[in-house]
Symmetry: C2
Amino acid sequence: MNKDFKKDENFFLNKHPLDEETLFLVSQTFKALSDPTRIRILNLLCIAEHSVNELAEKLDLGQSTVSHQLRFLKQLRLVKYRRAGTTLYYSKDDDHIMNLLNQAIEHATHN
Amino acid sequence: MNKDFKKDENFFLNKHPLDEETLFLVSQTFKALSDPTRIRILNLLCIAEHSVNELAEKLDLGQSTVSHQLRFLKQLRLVKYRRAGTTLYYSKDDDHIMNLLNQAIEHATHN
DNA sequence: TCAATATATGAGCATATGTTCATATATTGA
DNA sequence: TCAATATATGAACATATGCTCATATATTGA
C-alpha cells in the first residue's frame, strides 16, 4: 500500500451516500470546530487542562461564555472535566478530532 | 520518529496562541464542512466531477441552493469548475481538506 | 439574432448561533 | 450553617445562516 493510497484510505472506506445519522454527527463535529472561540479553547486544552476561569482569563472571555462553549464541546465528548473542590479542570477527550483541528491549523498557516 | 509522535506532529508545530488570520481561516474552513448540504455535495465531488444540475438531482436540492453552496465552497477554494458549453462541471480543489472530511466521516461511523 | 438551457444572484424569510446579563447551583472552609 | 468561590444555566438580544423565489446572466444551436 503506497502513501497516496493510504492518504485516501477513508474515501474508499466511507459509504456513499452518507446516512442521516453520520451526516448529522459529522456536521455537528465540524460545527464545534467552526467557531473562533471554541477553536481557541480547544487549542489551549490541547496543551494542558484548564479551569473555566483560567480559560476565561487567558482568552479574555466572560466566564459564562466559556462555560456555555464548554457545555457544547462536552456534549460532543470533545472535552471532559475533573473536579477539584469548586474548580472544574477541563481537558481534551477526543484525540482524533483534536488531530483534525491541528491538521487544519497547520494547513491554514501554510496556504 | 514513532507513530504516536507523528500523529501529534501538527500540535507541536502549530503556534500558541493562534493569530487572528489563522483563526479566521480555520473557522471558515470548518464552517464549510459543518453543514449537511455542503457535506453531501463535497462527498459527491469526492467521487467525481458533477454539474450543478447533476448535484441538485442526485441530492434532491434546488438548483439555487446548490449554486449558492458551491459559491461558498468555491470562495474557500475547496471546489473548482470547468465549463463545457452552458454546463459547469464542479470538482474538488483541496485534497487536504477533503481528506479531513473523510477522516471525520470515518470517525463518525465508528463511534 | 433569438430561443433554449444552465447557472448565478439578490432579496426576503425563518431558524440557528454566540454573547451577555442576571441568577441558580455546588463545594469548601470557617 | 454560612459566606466565599467557582461554575452552570436560562432568557434575551443581535447577528449569521440556509433556503426559496424571482430574475439576471451566459452560452449555444438554429
